[in-house]
């Protein structure tokens, strides 16, 4: 599935291991895990040489990741249905409350017309079969102004009006 980041389509080097997967990992394989499995194995994962990430489902509490945000390199937030908006709050919390700096990737049912909101909520990568690069770039620029402060750091209209 195409992966879009920083204005380009990039290669997806990450492998997702589900809760019960017993696949043998190559030592240099970048891997994402479900939250529960990640929390169980966090200690040993921290010692890996290859990059480690976590995939959240909408029910997950992103606050549980706080102790690990310094070293994990990818958080995937999944949207099983695009109408399920919990991932936007997870993203805002990770970025703004917990200061997560790594890649924040939207996966699942990711549509062109959600990407503006996703970007504002702190996502910087989109795995999507339903939007090509030009349309995503277009979606990101559909609004020149935004009323609220959000995770993207754009100056809100409330503040821009007063030069702050």
């Amino acid at each position: 599935m195409p992966l879009l980041k920083d204005g380009a389509e990039i290669e997806n080097i990450w492998l997702f291991l589900d809760q019960d997967s017993e696949a043998e990992l190559k030592p240099d394989q970048a891997v994402t895990l479900p939250l529960a499995r990640f929390l169980e194995q966090a200690e040993s994962l921290a010692g890996r040489n290859a990059p480690v990430g976590v995939r959240l489902v909408p029910e997950d509490d992103p606050t549980l990741l706080e102790p690990f945000l310094e070293w994990i390199q990818l958080v995937e937030v999944s949207f099983p249905k695009y109408t399920d908006g919990r991932g936007y709050s997870q993203a805002q919390l990770l970025r703004r409350r917990h200061g997560y700096q790594g890649e924040l990737r939207a996966v699942g049912h990711v549509l062109r017309d959600q990407i503006f909101y996703m970007n504002r909520s702190g996502f910087d990568a989109y795995e999507t079969a339903r939007a090509d690069l030009p349309s995503v770039l277009e979606a990101l620029n559909e609004f020149r102004d935004t009323y609220q402060p959000a995770a993207d750091g754009r100056v809100s209209v409330f503040h821009a009006r007063h030069g702050s």
Binding site: R130, P149, H159, R161
Partner: protein
Amino acid sequence: MYRYDEFDARIVKDRVEQFRGQVTRRLSGELLEDEFKPLRLQNGVYLQLHAYMLRVAIPYGQLNGAKLRRLAEVSTKYDRGYGHFTTRQNIQYNWVALKDIPDALNDLAEVEMHAIQTSGNCIRNVTSDHFAGAAADEVMDPRPWCEIIRQWSTFHPEFAFLPRKFKFAVTAAAHDRAAIAVHDIGLRIVKRGEDVGFEVYAGGGQGRTPLLAALVNDFVPEAELLDYVEAIMRVYNRYGRRDNKYKARIKILVQELGPEEFTRQVEAEYAAQRRHEKIDLPQAEIDRIHAYFAPPAYDAEDGTEAFEAAKAAEPDFAQWAEVNLHPHKQAGHASVTVSLKPIGGAAGDATDRQMALVADLAERYAYDDIRVSHAQNLVLPHVPVKHLYAIWQALDAAGLATPNESLITDLIVCPGLDYCNLANARSIPIGQAVQEVFADPKYQREIGRLHINISGCINACGHHHVGHIGILGVDRKGEEFYQISLGGRADEKAAIGAIAGPALKGEDVPGAVKRIVDTYMALRTSPDELFIDTLERAGAEPFKEALYAAA
């Protein structure tokens, strides 16, 4: 009235172009209907029984002549020459073509209007007191805060895909005309000394599980309001139910957690929000928005004498003035209700000519200020009494001077099965039939204030739960039936009406309402005891007996 600055104007213009692109992609087949649906809904476009419907936002019911005239023009140009004003203070066009909607939105943007978030599982149009800025009983004008909430909620990136729709209402008066108790968040502006703050209520709503909102905080300082509501929204977005559409409103979350636990979670989130994501609305911005709502330069001329003389000379005018005027905080002024409830009409409907006339009158006589009320009427909030007679004459000639504000024929009625694909039963003809029984204006005034609300289905767009008499259309094996409830009210003593008994056939509803009213007239201690007070004093039993007595 608030006026768009360059930022507001650009946001609305960008939205028009964005939606134009979405419609183009839908018409070309690039977007599937299933994917287009939430996009069109967040722009107020529904697929109804017969056609697309466009719902245009009228934030907190605020209009002026130019806006209302444009609403009239849009109805002429893209629809069938009329519009329907709703209980959300919005207007709906029932017969627009999808391909025309981007152009209609562009026309609306020219007068600083839009259809953003008038539908969908997002924060909807914020509603307020239709006498805001004019009412003698308000502590301050609630509209500046409505406008701040409007801007904050517009395209809020975190709250565009909530479990379900979300409605704010704001009042600043002792007498609640905004029905805050039956909103997802209800706000009452209060003052402690010089400090302005908000009583914050959450979890009210109608629909199939009607609930009154719980008080979650009795004083949120104004500068922190957006942080507080953002905390409520985040708790709801994360923990509101998504497994069942009928249990997805915030009222169910508040009910299932209990108001205490819900409040604890909100307060914890609020504390964290204040540490990390504080919005920090600049005081200069609060002041800037308030400045738009300065009162008009009131006409100082005392027109009382001419007003009294006109009443003495013209009994119909006197009757209208007695019923359709509301006290104004400024001497020599009144607020006028322009009734959209003529006997036998469709509640809340106005033709293009009627809209244009009200626009003209507002510009000519009433400081260019117009409101839509949640009871589906239009309001001229500031009118010098010296102009009342001229206004009445013009309204009367256009069928807009029915003297029935808050009387028994001033019904709230949803579009029902005549238009809506959710409805189980027709609403409009039932409302008309009830009106016919009470058509005599003198009889209506004898009965006094009495709110009848009619919904064509359990979604309760006609607010039947909070009608003094509520009428709900239900489907019984393909036949339309109507359930009567008693004792609801939407004001500061808000209550959910109780179902009186078995549902009735449509043809039996007017007679049943008549028997309820007859019972009230017989029981009331004096003409000053309103229907709802008699009902609360005497209990529902005598009314139920009369209701189900053999005709």
